[in-house]
Structures are given as C-alpha cells and as structure tokens.
C-alpha cells in the first residue's frame, strides 16, 4: 500500500508535530540531568497547557512500606473532643471502595505527605466547618494517622492485614473565626 494518501506537505507538518510531542514527553519522563533542568521549564508549560503532563510511577520507585489510616481529632471550646475517621477503603464493600477511590486518593496519597502540606489548613478548616456548633465551637483540629510497618524480614500474611498501632499527629490547626463561616 502506498503512503501517498496524504500530501507530502501534510506529512512533513505532522512529522514535526510528532517529533515535538515525543521530545517533550521524553524530557518529562527522563531522570534529572543538567539538560533536563535547562529545557523542562519551557516544555513543562506546553505540557500543562495541553494536558499532556505525565509521570509513570505506579508503585515505584519504592511503594510505601507501611499501612496506615488517617483520622482527625477535633477539640471544642469546652475541652471535649470528637474523632473523625477519614473513609477507609478496607472497611468498605468493593463497590463502595470503587466509587470512593477519589476520596482515598486524596486522604491517603496526598494529605499526609509533605509535598502537599500547604493544603492541610484547608482540609482542617473543612472538617471544623463540618463540626460547627454555635454553642460549643471547634477550636483545634489535629490530623493524625495510625500506622504499622510492613516488615521485609518476616512476611506479613496477605489475609492478616496490619491495622496500625503507632500514632502520628502530622498537623495541628488552630481554628479561626473565619474558618467557620
């Protein structure tokens, strides 16, 4: 079959587009080097604008080596506290876990990690609003998780999961009046 279905001019224009796309993509996925540091600030803008930004790191380089479940402790004016557990996929039915994957993504893959720490005040104030009581307002929200390491030297059986015995408070937020509006 001949390739003459398209005009030569069209093929050249498309070839330039393909080459540019591949170049931008390969720069994005390549490991850090001086050339990448020089070029990426420019190509990144094109990627973000076109929505073709990418990073392929499914369970790599290293999958997280511990199990955890996040929760919040809300302290009220009178000193009492409330416990809010973020939705836990391991406690859901499979259909529910499928439907609520985005919640899991948000609270398990983002909220506890330092890269996204700037958004913790927004999450804490959202929870404070949810526990709003005009007679006894929330004054503090602590974001915590309970974790257990997945040991490598001794295998954890697949059907006997880890539930988290070590507590870690990773953010404490003092609630402001404007958070409750």
């Amino acid at each position: 079959m001949s390739i003459e279905l398209m005009k030569t001019r069209d093929r050249i224009v498309i070839s330039i587009f393909i080459a540019a796309y591949l170049l931008i993509t390969l720069i994005a996925i390549s490991s850090d080097c001086p050339l990448k540091t020089f070029i990426e600030p420019h190509t990144r803008k094109i990627q973000l604008f076109l929505g073709i930004d990418q990073s392929w790191r499914m369970f790599c380089p290293n999958p997280r080596g511990f199990c955890f479940h996040p929760y919040a402790v809300i302290t009220f004016q009178d000193g009492s506290t409330a416990y809010y557990e973020f939705p836990r996929p391991d406690k859901m039915t499979q259909l529910n876990a499928l439907m609520r994957e985005r919640i899991r993504k948000h609270f398990y893959d983002l909220m506890p990690w330092l890269d996204f720490a700037v958004f913790r005040p927004s999450i804490a104030s959202y929870i404070a609003r949810a526990y709003m009581d005009p007679n006894n307002q929330p004054t503090q929200v602590s974001l915590c998780y309970n974790s257990d390491d997945i040991g490598i030297s001794k295998l954890v059986p697949h059907e006997h999961p880890l539930y988290g015995t070590t507590r870690n408070t990773f953010f404490v937020y003092q609630v402001r009046t404007e958070d409750l509006k």
């Binding site: 279905l5 393909i18 591949l22 080596g65 609520r100 948000h106 958004f119 697949h158 539930y163």
Partner: protein, 330 residues
C-alpha cells in the same frame, strides 16, 4: 542506511494507510471505561471537590499549585456554584456517550478533552496515572479517524448504500494518531519498568510483597490454595516481582515485534486482571487494557468477527434444531 531510507521507514510507520477499524474499536472500549469512571468515581464525591464549598478552594489551588501556568480550564470562566460545576460533569458524560457511540465523533472527543482537562486541572489532587493517561489519549484521539468505523457517523454517511459493509470495512487512513497513542503507551510501560529496576525495593524483589500488603488497596484474595501458595512465600513473591518488571518492559519493547505481540498482550492482560483482582485500583487497569486493542491488526479483527459470525450462526442452527425437535415431540 541513508537519510532517504530513514525517512521512508518513518513514513511507513506513521503514515502507511490502514483500516480505522482498530482505532474505532478502541474508541468504544475507551469510551465505556471513561464513562464508567465519570458516573461512578467522579459523581460519587463530586461535591466534596467541586462546587460552592469544596475541600480545597480554587484560590488555594491557584496560589499554591497552578501559580501562573496557563492551562485549559473552563472552570476559571464560570461562577463557583454547584449548578455550574455539576453542569460541567453532566456535559462531560454526555460527550463521553456521543464519543462512545461515534456521533459527531471528532467534535465529541474534542469536547471531552477540553472538559476533562478542566476537571482534572481544577482539582488535580484526586487524579491518578489513569486520569493522566485518559487526558493524553483524548488529546491524541482527536487527530485520529476514530469515527471511521463502528460509529453512528459512519452509519449516517452510508445509510443510502450498504452501510453494513462500510460499518466494518472503513476506507484506509493514515494511522499516525493511533501510532502516537501506541508509542505513548509503550513509553509509559517502559518508563515504569526502568524506574522499578532502579528501585531498591523492586530490585531486591520486595515490590509485589509490599504492594499487596497495603491495606487501602487490598481487594480479593486469590481463590483456594493459590492465595497461600503465591502470596505468602518469599520465592513466588520474588517471581511475581520479576515478572511484573519483565512484563512492563516487554509491553514497552517486545510488543513492537509482530511475532511476539499477541503473546505480550496476553501476558499483559493477565497481569492487569491479576492486579485488578488483588488490588483496589479501579478503572486504571481497564484504561490500559483498552489501550491493548490498538495493537490488534485490522485483518485479525476481521478474522475474529468472522469467527463470531460463524459461532453465532452454528449456535442459532443448533437452537433451531433443538426447538424444532421439542415442538415435534410435543
């Protein structure tokens, strides 16, 4: 080899005409996965992330994340109300449906692309690699002849003549956009495989062990003795670990060699179905499985179609035979 030869190889790969049956089938499968995701995961907690009172406000996103990046996001031009934001999701689902059935295909894909870019840009923190893949696929699919076959467009265009023939035997087109999606898929797998090889955990053979113990991902156990035999001993876990990396590398490299292609796809399919059984990573696996169809040759799809036709013809004959026998006995 000289430059002329190289140019010829390049042109053969990207522009040698082929039937758009494969990319059309991919459009349908991809569209179904896309729609499922919108109507389940996106719909379920939409008001937590979007609307008048989201978990993280648009101002916070803009201040700490987007900064001054230019991006395709129509939310920026709409009031932050529940009505407008739900409207965007409903429109995306509508165009997802028209894309799937192939009605005004190119425009539908373009609309899906813009709307999906907006949703994932507006609230980037609930996106996973599956969403990134879908955004990239929509971008590239816009340039393809995805409505060339198995579509309402095709039916409407040929309803005066033999529409069945046109429906399954579209004219030949330059498949460069399909090739780009194929290359993009290969890059994704090869890149992941390479990162895993360079990872301490995966290189030491503990990748599958750790991944299968993450409580927030745990789904079903393997049936019967398979569960204990495969997942609770070091050696089978090590083999699964090596196989995962090998399959990912093969899906990025050996898949281009015709003799290996279907075997690599079969192993890749088994890997994804296995992961989907064991781990709760919904939709993601099926986005990549749908991409596998792009590697099926149109001639093989025709063979498969003929096989199904024959199968159903024989089944029909058998059913008619049994029905006639039963009615005779009565």
């Amino acid at each position: 080899m000289n430059l002329r030869d190289l140019w010829s190889v390049w042109q053969n790969f990207w522009f040698k005409p082929q039937s758009s049956l494969t990319i059309s089938l991919f459009r349908i499968l991809f569209g179904l996965v896309f729609l499922t995701q919108l109507l389940t995961q996106y719909w379920q907690d939409f008001h937590t992330f979007f609307g008048a009172n989201p978990l993280i406000s648009m101002d916070d996103h803009a201040t700490y994340w987007w900064r001054k990046d230019l991006s395709a996001n129509i939310f920026e031009f709409l009031p932050a109300t529940d009505f407008c934001h739900v409207g965007i999701l409903v429109l995306t689902a509508f165009f997802g449906l028209t894309m799937t059935i192939g009605f005004y295909t190119r425009f539908s894909i373009f609309a899906c692309y813009i709307l999906f870019c907006s949703i994932t840009r507006q609230y980037p923190f609930f996106c996973n690699a599956g969403d990134n893949t879908q955004r990239i696929v929509l971008f590239l699919l816009m340039f393809s002849h995805a409505g060339g076959a198995l579509s309402v467009d095709n039916f409407l265009k040929n309803r005066g003549g033999d529409w069945r023939k046109a429906f399954f035997n579209p004219p030949l087109e330059a498949p460069w956009a399909q090739r780009m999606i194929q290359v993009q898929m290969a890059i994704a797998y090869f890149s992941t495989g390479l990162i895993k090889i360079n990872s301490e955990v995966w290189f030491a053979g503990n990748g599958v062990y750790i991944a299968t113990r993450l409580m927030d991902f745990v789904k079903f156990p393997f049936p019967g003795l398979l569960e204990h035999a495969l997942l609770d001993h070091k050696f089978p876990l090590l083999v699964l670990n090596i196989m995962t990396v090998a399959v990912e590398l093969a899906l990025g490299s050996l898949i281009w060699i015709k003799e290996f292609r279907y075997w690599v796809l079969l192993v890749g399919l088994s890997m994804h179905l296995g992961i989907d059984w064991l781990m709760n990573i919904p939709i993601f696996e099926f986005v990549f499985i749908s991409l596998f169809t792009l590697f099926i040759e149109p001639e093989d799809l025709h063979k498969l179609g003929s096989w199904f036709r024959l199968f159903f013809k024989r089944l029909n004959e058998k059913i008619s035979f049994v029905v006639s026998k039963v009615s005779k006995n009565e």
